[in-house]
């Protein structure tokens, strides 16, 4: 009982910390964006390059192997998946390097250190907004209108933020001690892309495992394992609400959501414990 109260107080503290430091986070995020695109003619438009290029590659790939995209045009389907995926991938990997990258500040000035991972995620949130604009353009081109379920989008984006933070907190703290983390993470994340429904829709996996039972007795277990990846349910749900006029795919989200619910507090606690020694070790 008292443990539960303690938890609630912890959560309130975390939120209070974020609110107290919102100006700092906003200013640092603004700095990140300004510095990155300062002397570039195209500026922040460069953030469109990655999703559009990957989309083109996937379209070419699809022309060889044939991926059934249901009744949604494949380019829009994969672009929707990519906008969420790239946001997750970049905010997680930026978050992991954020603490080490701000070593000079950490050695000199105190403020709650979670500001750094939070700033990385906020920075990427701006780029996600720009990607959404391009997604809207594609949807308009193909004549797809988002339905009432599109109101779920903020919730799904918030969920993605939590996912990125789960990796960013523990990763950035570990990275202070072992720089291996920031080297290994991009590799692991690009592996994870193939395990998430980015190139292909989730429906294909579901058909293979749950309907065709392709792996025999292991099929449902494998499907469970697949949906333990929070991105699996998340990306499918995003496509549902934006493109298919359907509610989020709660069945596919549940395992990953529970998994995150366990990992996020652990990751944050580890970060707070390691925080005190950042200035000595970094």
């Amino acid at each position: 009982m008292s443990l539960g109260k303690q938890r609630i107080r912890d959560v309130i503290n975390v939120i209070k910390n974020i609110v107290d430091n919102r100006e700092l986070i906003a200013t640092l995020a603004w700095k990140n964006i300004t510095v990155r695109y300062k002397q570039a003619y195209l500026g922040i438009l460069w953030s469109l390059l990655k999703p559009l290029m990957l989309m083109c590659i996937f379209i070419v790939l699809r022309s060889f192997v044939g991926i059934n995209s249901g009744n949604v045009p494949y380019p829009v389907l994969t672009l929707a998946a990519l906008s969420i995926w790239i946001f997750f991938q970049e905010s997680a990997s930026e978050g992991v390097t954020s603490v080490v990258g701000n070593a000079s500040l950490i050695r000199k000035i105190y403020f709650p250190r979670e500001v750094f991972p939070l700033t990385s995620v906020s920075t990427k949130l701006v780029e996600l907004g720009i990607n959404f604009v391009i997604l809207a353009c594609f949807m308009a081109w193909y004549g797809i209108l988002p339905g009432i379920y599109a109101l779920w989008v903020p919730v799904l984006v918030f969920y993605t933020v939590l996912l990125s933070l789960t990796i960013a907190f523990a990763g950035s703290a570990l990275n202070v001690y072992y720089r291996d983390v920031s080297t290994a993470l991009p590799v692991l994340l690009s592996l994870m892309m193939y395990l998430s429904p980015v190139i292909y829709p989730l429906q294909l996996v579901k058909n293979k495992l749950l309907i065709e039972q392709a792996a025999g007795a292991w099929s449902s277990k494998l499907y469970f394992l697949y949906t333990l990846n929070p991105l699996a349910g998340l990306i499918d749900s995003f496509q549902n609400v934006m493109l298919r006029h359907q509610p989020p795919n709660f069945d596919a989200m549940l395992p990953g959501f529970c998994f995150t619910l366990v990992l996020l507090p652990l990751s944050y606690l580890y970060f707070k414990r390691a925080e005190a020694y950042f200035a000595d070790v970094i």
């Binding site: 100006e23 510095v35 500040l105 950490i106 000199k108 000035i109 403020f111 000595d280 070790v281």
Partner: protein
């Protein structure tokens, strides 16, 4: 109620490289099964430090490089945590540790002001009205929209100082920032600091190697050495102790310098065997008291006949400024010296050089022709200490080398106020 309390604080660092991933996994496993773990010896940057600071106090922290000053400031700024003990700080702390920590070269001066003010915790609306004040203090009106990568280093430091001192914090932590910019700006910084301290009654912690500045600004000084507080008290006393230690250190490095600098010329007919300095009681010393009697004893080995040699002994500073020389001509007649071993003794009464580190030079020349036989500089370094001299009078740039032996007197010729007719003498 003290505003800062440091209670038996120890800060340890592991020496050497970080443990590899493999090693920490092995250590973790060993710890799990209860086997002893190979630990490296920790380095104590701070060793059982305790003190407290009252509101409005200006505390100077002095000590040699590596004494633990910066570590202490980091603990007080909450950047780092102590290994054991407790640090409690009431109120907001503004760190001026190496100003410009958050400067971004690609951003303009204006953008950097906004960024750094936010990092230092100044709310947005306050930045708006502090902005002009910062710009005019830093004298950067013309360049405020230029990226600071194009600034000169002086301009950057000015901007950093202006931002850092605009924070409204109860406690200011200042680490070697007053030595910034040109002379005029240094003066301005100094005035700003004095204004913050004296008029606004802030609590200030000041770390500096500029001892004179510490003496002038602080109300109390803490002397750190090898992580320990070795002295805590009035600025003048503590700074004197620090000067003594500094001099001793210079002497130690002089003595340990294997390859002695300084010229040595010899004709091969004479060489030194030993040089010692003796105090009143006849003990061999390297530290003498100001105005004490001292005897210098030099052992010479003479290898050829030397007709009427003239001996000389001189004193120079560590940077080879000749201060005094004494020659035996006219006061010591030896006739022709035959080959053999000799001991030369020279006694100085009331050694007149002011406290500091000095060195001896020695020479032997032939009488009549003044042809040099032997000459060597920097043969023996020694320190003059002056317990009875107040170093407060001596500035950071020393006031000279020689003490004068005189009498002071002040007599009143005419006093206009008849009620307070006093004669002041001596």
């Amino acid at each position: 109620m003290p505003i800062i309390e440091v209670d038996h604080v120890t800060k340890e660092f592991q020496l050497g490289q970080l443990v590899s991933l493999k090693q920490s996994v092995v250590n973790g496993l060993n710890r799990l099964v209860g086997r002893p773990v190979e630990e490296r010896k920790p380095f104590k940057a701070l060793d059982d430090v305790s003190f407290s600071v009252e509101k409005g106090e200006v505390l100077g922290i002095i000590g040699h490089n590596g004494a633990g000053k910066s570590t202490l400031l980091k603990l007080l700024a909450r950047v780092s945590k102590p290994s054991s003990g407790r640090v409690s700080v009431i109120g907001k702390v503004a760190p001026l540790i190496e100003v410009g920590a958050g400067m971004v070269p690609d951003l303009t001066g204006r953008e950097n002001i906004h960024l750094n003010c936010t990092i230092l915790g100044i709310p947005k609306k306050e930045i708006a009205w502090k902005f002009d004040q910062i710009v005019s203090f830093a004298e950067l009106e013309e360049f405020i929209d230029t990226p600071i990568k194009h600034y000169s280093s002086g301009m950057k430091v000015k901007l950093g100082f202006a931002i850092a001192t605009s924070v409204d914090a109860e406690i200011l932590i200042v680490d070697e920032v007053l030595a910034v910019g040109d002379l005029a700006f240094q003066r301005k910084c100094f005035d700003r600091m004095q204004d913050l301290i004296k008029r606004q009654g802030r609590t200030v912690l000041l770390v500096s190697h500029n001892i004179r500045q510490v003496e002038r600004l602080c109300s109390r000084v803490l002397l750190l050495d090898h992580g320990k507080v070795i002295n805590d008290g009035a600025p003048t006393d503590i700074c004197n102790v620090f000067y003594e230690i500094s001099d001793k250190r210079i002497l130690d490095t002089k003595l340990s310098a294997a390859a002695r600098s300084g010229r040595t010329l010899t004709s091969g007919n004479a060489e030194i065997e030993s040089v010692v300095m003796l105090d009143k009681r006849g003990n061999s010393v390297t530290e003498i008291e100001y105005l004490d009697d001292v005897e210098i004893r030099v052992g010479y080995r003479i290898l050829a006949d030397l007709p009427d040699p003239i001996f000389s002994i001189g004193v120079h500073t560590t940077d080879f400024l000749y201060l005094a020389t004494s020659q035996s001509i006219g006061s010591l007649s030896t006739g022709t010296l035959l080959p053999g071993h000799y001991v030369l003794s020279y006694t100085i009464h009331r050694f007149p050089l002011l406290p500091g580190v000095y060195s001896l030079r020695l020479g032997v020349a032939l009488g009549g022709s003044f042809q040099p036989v032997f000459y060597s500089e920097n043969v023996l370094s020694f320190q003059v200490s002056g317990k009875q001299i107040n170093r407060a009078v001596q500035s950071q740039y020393r006031e000279g080398f020689v003490g004068l032996d005189g009498e002071w007197e002040l007599t009143a010729r005419e006093i206009n106020n008849a009620s307070s007719r006093v004669a002041i003498a001596k």
